[in-house]
């Protein structure tokens, strides 16, 4: 009885907040026919935008994943001064509105900024790939850490300590005991990080300079289609992003088929 109440409650909430809106996105994308949708996402500009989005994600996601695992281990398994503060700081990037992320990066790497001189020496950060990758890393930083930390706390150190006393090296302990226990957490962290990395608009828009065919990611392409009154094209490109996000979850299932829980 309670099970059904819970199921319908949860699904009702999801329907209103997720399923119907997503359904509308797909509907709007194909409103003018599948052919039009396909054309909208296979233009030269769109394909380049997709490439760039995937490239940025391919750099930012692994970086944040490795960092996330390392920091989670440091936060939970070791003691150091300021641990609580670091824990809280990790979430802060999310609290910055994208316009402010752009402002901060301008203040740092822009003309007259602290590291503004780099551009003069030929090291292009802003309005080029490095700036966009940094902005993406900034906004997608916390997810792996946040996923792994509770699980690390949950599993405790018993098994790890046992392995250590039996002579296992730190790497062996990690590979054979810690990582298998946190793999789902890491996996969901990667899913969230990827979704944010491909879908980020605001901060990347500001630091990229939105140069068509060069620094335009797929979300920026969506915006430019919207501005040009090609709304179904904008939705079609959004569907591509949605498919990538769905793809990551599906890929997860394939790699780690879940044992059914009672």
């Amino acid at each position: 009885m309670a099970r059904y109440a819970l199921r319908f409650g949860a699904l009702g909430y999801l329907a209103l907040l997720l399923l119907v809106p997503v359904g509308l996105v797909f509907y709007r994308a194909f409103e003018n026919g599948a052919g039009h949708a396909w054309d909208a996402v296979t233009t030269h500009q769109a394909l380049h935008a997709l490439e760039l989005t995937l490239l940025i994600a391919a750099i930012a996601v692994p970086a944040n994943t490795v960092f996330g695992i390392v920091l989670a281990l440091a936060l939970v398994r070791t003691r150091f001064p300021g641990r609580g503060l670091v824990n809280a700081v990790v979430d802060l990037p999310l609290a910055l509105s994208p316009v402010v992320v752009g402002l901060a990066l301008f203040l740092l790497y822009g003309r007259g900024g602290w590291l503004g001189g780099l551009a003069g020496h030929g090291v292009k950060i802003l309005f080029a790939l490095p700036g966009m990758v940094l902005a993406t890393m900034f906004v997608s930083l916390p997810f792996v850490v946040r996923e792994v930390v509770p699980v690390l706390r949950e599993i405790g150190t018993d098994q790890e300590q046992a392995a250590e006393t039996l002579g296992a090296s730190p790497l062996q302990v990690f590979r054979r005991i810690t990582f298998p226990a946190i793999r789902w957490a890491v996996a969901y962290g990667v899913v969230l990080t990827t979704a944010r990395a491909i879908g980020e608009f605001g901060a990347v828009s500001v630091v990229s300079g939105r140069i068509e065919g060069r620094t335009e990611t797929l979300p920026l392409y969506v915006q430019s289609q919207f501005e040009g009154f090609d709304t179904s094209g904008a939705y079609a490109a959004s569907v591509v992003l949605a498919m990538i996000a769905i793809g990551t979850v599906v890929g997860l299932r394939v790699l780690h088929p879940r044992e059914e829980v009672a």
């Binding site: 309670a2 819970l6 199921r7 949860a10 909430y13 999801l14 997720l18 809106p21 996105v25 960092f67 390392v70 440091a74 070791t78 609580g84 824990n87 809280a88 700081v89 802060l92 990037p93 999310l94 609290a95 509105s97 316009v99 402010v100 402002l103 901060a104 203040l107 740092l108 900024g113 602290w114 916390p142 946040r146 996923e147 930390v149 509770p150 699980v151 706390r153 949950e154 150190t157 730190p170 790497l171 957490a185 969901y188 990827t194 979704a195 879908g199 608009f201 605001g202 969506v222 915006q223 919207f226 904008a234 939705y235 992003l241 949605a242 996000a245 769905i246 990551t248 059914e260 829980v261």
Partner: protein
């Protein structure tokens, strides 16, 4: 002699690589997060401390900050309940289409915010198919924020539920405990850290959200204008240091809330065995 003893000692957790790993993590955190934040804080004090305070305490700014923090808090709390319920349904329950629903959870995240705004406006605004029109109200603001923060608590709780050993629950059930009691006394304490993790993320995102709310909230000063929109307006009008000042104040408050959530977790989990 002293050198020999030092070599025999091992760090608390036996991880001799820990300092190096911490160093790498700190370096990465500094480059990606701390440096830009420092530049922002520096930019906000451009006019001096007096100017900072004046900018940050303007009526419109304060109103926007209050609205942002209150709505973000409500959003985070609603997520705690709904997110846990959804995670539970996705892990423990079985129904047709579960896999599909699970795969869609992250979409609010992957969709560009303009699409989120347009879709919510089309569905829950004037001319929407359900006859609901909450556009340009605080309800719309909350709705947009619930949309973009949906995945956090769900994805934070799911892995913990997956790793959770069901022995104790089964034992308690066989002893006659009701489902609610089992949840309250056995499951919930184990989920709390994960829920709080997700809540912290949801709060932070709700505080910083711009794109999804700017279309559907109407941006009326003192009524539905959130901090991110106010800051954007200041920036567009050339008041860069003012924009930075309000952002820094918002950051400081958010940091306080996040520290509070961390402290709460430590306090609650210490009461368990």
């Amino acid at each position: 002699m002293a050198a020999d003893t030092a070599a025999l000692e091992r760090p608390v957790t036996g991880r001799s690589g820990a300092p190096l790993a911490r160093g790498v993590a700190t370096g990465y955190l500094s480059l990606v997060v701390l440096l830009p934040l420092a530049a922002l804080i520096w930019g906000s004090r451009a006019g001096g401390l007096g100017a900072f305070w004046e900018q940050a305490t303007r009526h419109e700014a304060v109103s926007a900050l209050k609205l942002t923090l209150v709505v973000a808090a409500i959003c985070a709390l609603l997520n705690a309940v709904a997110g846990t319920a959804i995670a539970w349904t996705l892990v423990r329950d079985r129904f047709p289409g579960k896999g599909i629903v699970d795969a869609l959870i992250d979409l609010p995240f992957a969709l560009p915010t303009i699409v989120a705004g347009l879709t919510l406006l089309a569905l829950y605004g004037p001319g929407g198919p359900f006859g609901i029109d909450v556009a340009f109200t605080r309800t719309a603001l909350l709705l947009a924020l619930l949309f973009v923060t949906l995945p956090f608590v769900v994805r934070a709780v799911q892995p913990v539920l997956l790793e959770l050993d069901t022995e104790m629950e089964e034992a308690a059930a066989s002893l006659g405990a009701r489902p609610l009691a089992i949840f309250r006394r056995i499951v919930f304490p184990n989920l709390l850290p994960a829920i709080l993790s997700g809540v912290a993320l949801a709060f932070a995102r709700a505080v910083g959200e711009f794109g999804a709310v700017v279309l559907i909230s109407g941006n009326l000063p003192f009524k539905t204008e959130v901090a991110s929109v106010y800051i954007f307006g200041q920036l567009q009008s050339g008041n860069e240091s003012g924009a930075a000042a309000v952002s820094v104040l918002l950051l400081a408050i958010s940091l306080g809330v996040l520290l509070g959530i961390g402290a709460f977790r430590r306090w609650r989990t210490r009461h368990d065995a």
